[in-house]
């Protein structure tokens, strides 16, 4: 039952992961986040074409339990959203690192340096256990 950490992504304190693919940053939510939320029933996707800054709320993930904001980990333009989540939001539970939410064309990839590595994020989560 232990949570998965993907060494190939960077993590925000707000539990989004960011993975560089070509010149885009792909964003999803961590295994920790989906586990905390429990069964996810609805995703409000960002708007394609929106200009966003790092830390800005761009969408919402709602579970049986609660609604959680999704923040963009980097500044840039939203270029694609995962429409599949409209009908199958549970993919975020089933495959948190496969089920991405949106893709950003980043203004400055160096912003990723502000995010945590998998190891750092795992250590950070250890301090959050209740």
């Amino acid at each position: 039952m232990s949570l998965k950490y993907d060494p190939n992504v960077k993590y925000a304190k707000t539990d989004e992961w960011a993975r560089v693919e070509g010149d885009l940053v792909v964003v999803g939510i961590s295994d920790y986040a989906q586990d905390q939320l429990s069964d996810i029933v609805y995703v409000e996707l960002p708007e394609v074409g929106a200009q966003v800054s790092a830390g800005e709320v761009v969408g919402t993930v709602e579970s049986v339990k609660a609604a959680a904001d999704i923040m963009s980990p980097v500044s840039g333009e939203i270029v694609e959203v995962n429409e599949e989540l409209n009908d199958s939001p549970e993919l975020l539970n089933e495959d948190p690192y496969g089920a991405w939410i949106f893709k950003v064309k980043p203004n400055d990839l160096a912003e990723l340096d502000n995010l945590m590595t998998a190891e750092e994020y795992e250590a950070y989560n250890a301090t959050r256990e209740h």
Partner: protein, 369 residues
């Protein structure tokens, strides 16, 4: 958190990997690792086992027990036979809700009522206050009495493995005293999920034994331990009201669509005049079912609006696991309660379209032909 009460199964829940949350003064499992959606479906298709020991039980004894019950709640209990179990509620003099309850008529002029965990002290005080002049003894037996619910279409087959008593003899909304795996148990063919099932009352020291007996007996049938989240979604789909949400001291039975409980001819009961007046004059607020047209999750406390004016509020809302729709129960003023009326639910500041639909969302198994 430290003064939260724990049931005798607390350690068992934790060992099973349950997520424990505060609820009505208790630390209760909200879900097991299976997750609330799987637990919900298990109860609809097979069976689920719930620890509901947080609920309270009072025994009513004495020559006037029946007369007293007639006076404090709206149902005509003189029509109940021994072993009958029926839903009812307690009202204040102004007709608003104290609590909703289940009444059991037991042999030897004994009665038992089951009350909500959050209301145990309040109800006891309220009943005691009104018991003056009646030869009635009200005993809070909640602590020594353990309560579990076994719910779902496979519930009977599972329980039957553990008892020689022919469960076909225990009709819906009746009770029996039987042996379950050698444990003296009062069972009621009752529950709050919209499925057939049982609620079990037995000595607290047998809690772990009974829990394990039932889970083992139900393994082949797909019985799952279920938490409060599944309990809530199950009762919500069947539009069974929950204290603190659809029922509380600001609302009354007619608007809550619970007027059917009232027996108007049995003589006076506390709140009767006020409830009857509301029935005759029509309630100002009515509980309606809403289905979202726009995408979004309606949640408890969200405002309901019409043409930009806030007119009501959501009492419970969620994605219905069985119907796969976003649904809500909401109080709205009379006039906005017709099926097909379009209303808005305000979700994070934005009006999202919804439509008034028929209740219940899910027709309980025991109401189907």
């Amino acid at each position: 958190m430290s003064d939260l009460k724990r049931t005798a199964l607390y350690d068992v829940h934790v060992a099973m990997g349950a997520r424990m949350v505060p609820f009505a003064g208790w630390e209760m499992p909200v879900q097991y690792p299976t997750g609330p959606t799987a637990e919900h479906h298990a109860v609809r298709k097979a069976a689920g086992l719930f620890d509901i020991d947080h609920m309270g039980q009072f025994k009513l004894l004495g020559r006037d027990a029946e007369t007293f019950l007639q006076y404090v709640q709206p149902r005509d209990v003189s029509r109940m036979k021994v072993w009958d179990a029926e839903y009812s509620y307690l009202c204040y003099g102004d007709g608003t809700f104290v609590d909703d309850i289940f009444i059991y008529k037991l042999p030897d002029d004994e009665w038992m009522i089951v009350v909500n965990a959050a209301n145990r002290e309040k109800d006891l005080f309220w009943l005691d206050t009104h018991a003056v002049g009646f030869d009635v003894e009200i005993l809070d037996i909640s602590d020594p009495t353990y309560m579990l619910a076994l719910q779902g279409p496979k519930g009977q087959a599972i329980l039957q493995k553990l008892t020689d008593y022919d469960l076909d003899q225990v009709a819906f909304h009746t009770a029996a005293r039987i042996q379950v795996g050698g444990i003296e148990t009062l069972i009621g063919a009752t529950g709050y999920t919209g499925e057939y099932g049982y609620e079990l009352f037995f000595p607290e020291e047998k809690a772990i034994a009974m829990w394990e007996l039932l889970l083992d007996a139900g393994r082949e049938e797909g019985l799952l331990a279920c938490g409060l989240a599944a309990r809530d979604s199950l009762r919500f789909e069947a539009c069974l009201p929950l204290y603190g949400h659809e029922i509380h001291a600001e609302v009354e039975p007619i608007g809550a669509r619970l007027g059917w409980v009232c027996d108007w001819d049995k003589g006076p009961w506390i709140g009767r005049d006020a409830v009857l007046k509301t029935k005759l004059e029509k309630p100002k607020l009515l509980l309606v079912g809403l289905e979202m047209i726009d995408r979004g999750v309606p949640r408890e406390g969200y405002e309901v609006a019409k043409d930009g004016q806030v007119i009501g509020w959501v009492t419970t809302g969620m994605k219905s696991p069985t119907l796969n729709k976003f649904l809500a129960l909401a109080y709205v003023p009379r006039g906005y309660n017709k099926i097909g009326t379009e209303l808005d639910v305000i979700i994070r500041g934005k009006p999202k379209k919804a439509v008034v639909v028929k209740r219940p969302f899910y027709i309980p198994a025991y109401r189907r032909k």
